[in-house]
């Protein structure tokens, strides 16, 4: 095994809000499983799961060896997106278009925006 460092950004693999946590834990308790860009998967607490979706970009940080996730703001997400030098301009633009199209399709299929939790 080799020790490595990886930036604390990743994707939500799954999340839940536990309404009857064990004694000693805040209620309700927000949990998420985050897949870091570097490959590792982390079990995290969070302040809320509102607006969270599977695949959403989040940042994680350790406080006293406990990991917390938080959703990235639009500005943070945009900054990360444009900073990725390996992506060609064409790829970036098509990614933006694809994401917009996906939202439109979801809205028209479900008749409304996808449900949010929290």
């Amino acid at each position: 095994m080799r020790e490595t460092t990886t930036p604390g950004y990743g994707e939500v693999v799954s999340f839940t809000t536990l309404h009857s946590p064990p004694t000693g834990f805040a209620s309700p308790l927000h949990l998420a499983l985050v897949q870091l860009d570097g490959g590792a998967r982390f079990f995290c607490h969070g302040a809320e799961t509102r607006g969270l979706r599977l695949g959403a970009r989040v940042t994680i940080e350790a406080v006293d060896q406990v990991y917390y996730f938080s959703a990235l703001s639009l500005a943070e997400r945009a900054g990360l997106f444009w900073r990725r030098r390996s992506a060609r301009v064409g790829q970036r633009l098509s990614a933006v278009v694809r994401s917009g199209a996906k939202r439109l399709v979801r809205r028209s299929r479900d008749g409304r925006d996808p449900p949010r939790s929290g």
Binding site: T16, T17, H45, L54
Partner: protein, 413 residues
């Protein structure tokens, strides 16, 4: 050597007054009577945590003595919530290897006497310690898996809730079930959140109960055609695939390989619906439903009692109840009743049944395939005596169990 189920029985499941050894004894005596057996060669006991739930240790010996079988060799098996199936496996291998001819397998749990947070804590001991340190409970991890599966298959909250409605409808026809009242879809969907998206009525209850089975080498009405175990990482975060259980797929592959056929032959199934979505996931993991098609089978009524492939005719863990160590055996008891046409009020036509049991959050899963042995020993056809004159070859024609076998000659005297 082939292994047969000669008898099976179970107690009522619910909030019960009797002690755990008494419950297990009630089921055990019922199974022995059904098998027309006084004394088995061996006893295997299934119980997840008698030390903490009822304060008893050395539990196999405790049960053996309580049954009046103190001199019968006994063994306790534990694989978290699939202990019942694991105990059946232990008995199966000893009979298949020719070590014992008859084995009584009995299991159960007594949980309702403890406060719910304590029960939750004890069940939570099956979870990876690191994830438990984050406050993860069984419902929390089940919710994580459920959400990923719903995203992958497009299943909705309504689909999950229909599982609970179906199983409660079945439980209403099962005099042994914990819950014998139907529930409406609205009530299920409106019940309080436990771990988002799982609601109270998607989660199985805390139950007392016991079940027992007698397995033997001598032909009987039902044969264990295959039994398989699958395993996966303790920690959820290490798993490769998130929308389903690898351990179930491995167990099903092993069981079907032993049986010599595939899921298309299965006509009734008892699946481990500790949480309603697990029934749908397990239909796909065992191969009973094509990938992504389980919800369609449910909403089209294919898995209802009168459907093409009834799932959980007993009411499942949701309505029949989940007495931890006893559940894996309770599923086999139900299948035995179904295959021998003793499931009055909820009888389905079936010759091959599948029982699926999940241990922990899918770290040790079992799939057991039972089939009606259409000739319970009567219509065997001798094919010839061996060279050295010690064994007689026979053929058992037709039916699901038609396979050649050899019997030591002295057994025929």
């Amino acid at each position: 050597m082939d292994v047969y189920v000669a008898g099976a029985a179970m107690t009522r499941v619910g909030r019960l007054v009797a002690s755990l050894p008494d419950l297990i004894a009630e089921a055990a005596r019922g199974a022995l009577t059904a098998a027309d057996l006084d004394r088995p060669d061996a006893l295997v006991v299934a119980c997840m945590n008698p030390e903490e739930f009822v304060g008893e240790g050395n539990f196999a010996s405790h049960v053996a003595t309580h049954l009046g079988l103190s001199r019968v060799p006994s063994l306790r098996v534990e694989t978290a919530t699939s202990s019942g199936a694991a105990a059946l496996y232990a008995a199966f291998v000893s009979v298949a290897a020719g070590v014992h001819r008859t084995v009584l397998v009995a299991g159960g749990e007594k949980m309702t006497q403890l406060p719910t947070p304590r029960v939750s804590e004890l069940i939570g001991r099956s979870i990876d310690p690191y994830e438990r340190s984050y406050g993860a409970t069984m419902p929390a991890l089940a919710a994580l898996v459920t959400r990923a599966w719903m995203a992958r298959t497009g299943a909705t909250l309504r689909d999950l809730s229909l599982v609970a409605v179906k199983n409660h409808a079945n439980g209403a026809r099962n005099p042994r079930a914990h819950f014998q009242e139907p529930v409406t879809l609205e009530a299920v969907m409106a019940s309080r959140l436990v771990a988002d998206p799982l609601r109270l009525y998607h989660c199985c209850p805390i139950s007392d109960g016991a079940a027992a089975v007698v397995v033997r080498a001598e032909p009987a009405r039902v044969r264990i055609a295959g039994i398989g175990q699958g395993a996966d990482y303790l920690a959820l975060r290490y798993r490769d695939d998130f929308g389903g259980f690898q351990a179930t797929r491995a167990a099903a592959r092993a069981a079907f390989r032993m049986a010599g056929y595939g899921p298309e032959r299965v006509e009734v199934a008892e699946l481990h619906d500790a949480f309603a979505p697990f029934e749908l996931m397990s239909m796909e993991d065992t191969g009973l439903a094509p990938a992504g098609k389980a919800t369609r089978m449910l909403t089209h009524g294919e898995t209802a009692l009168e459907g093409r492939l009834p799932v959980n005719p007993s009411g499942g863990l949701k309505a029949r109840g989940h007495p931890l160590g006893g559940t894996g055996l309770a599923q086999v008891v139900e299948l035995w009743w179904q295959l021998t046409e003793q499931a009055a009020g909820r009888q389905v036509p079936a010759r091959v049944g599948l029982a699926h049991s999940i241990g922990g959050l899918a770290t040790t899963n079992w799939v057991t395939i039972l089939e009606r042995a259409s000739h319970g020993g009567d219509a065997i056809r001798p094919t010839g005596v061996s060279q050295d004159g010690t064994t007689l070859g026979v053929d058992r024609p037709g039916g699901a169990g038609g396979r050649p076998a050899r019997f030591p000659l002295e057994r025929l005297k």
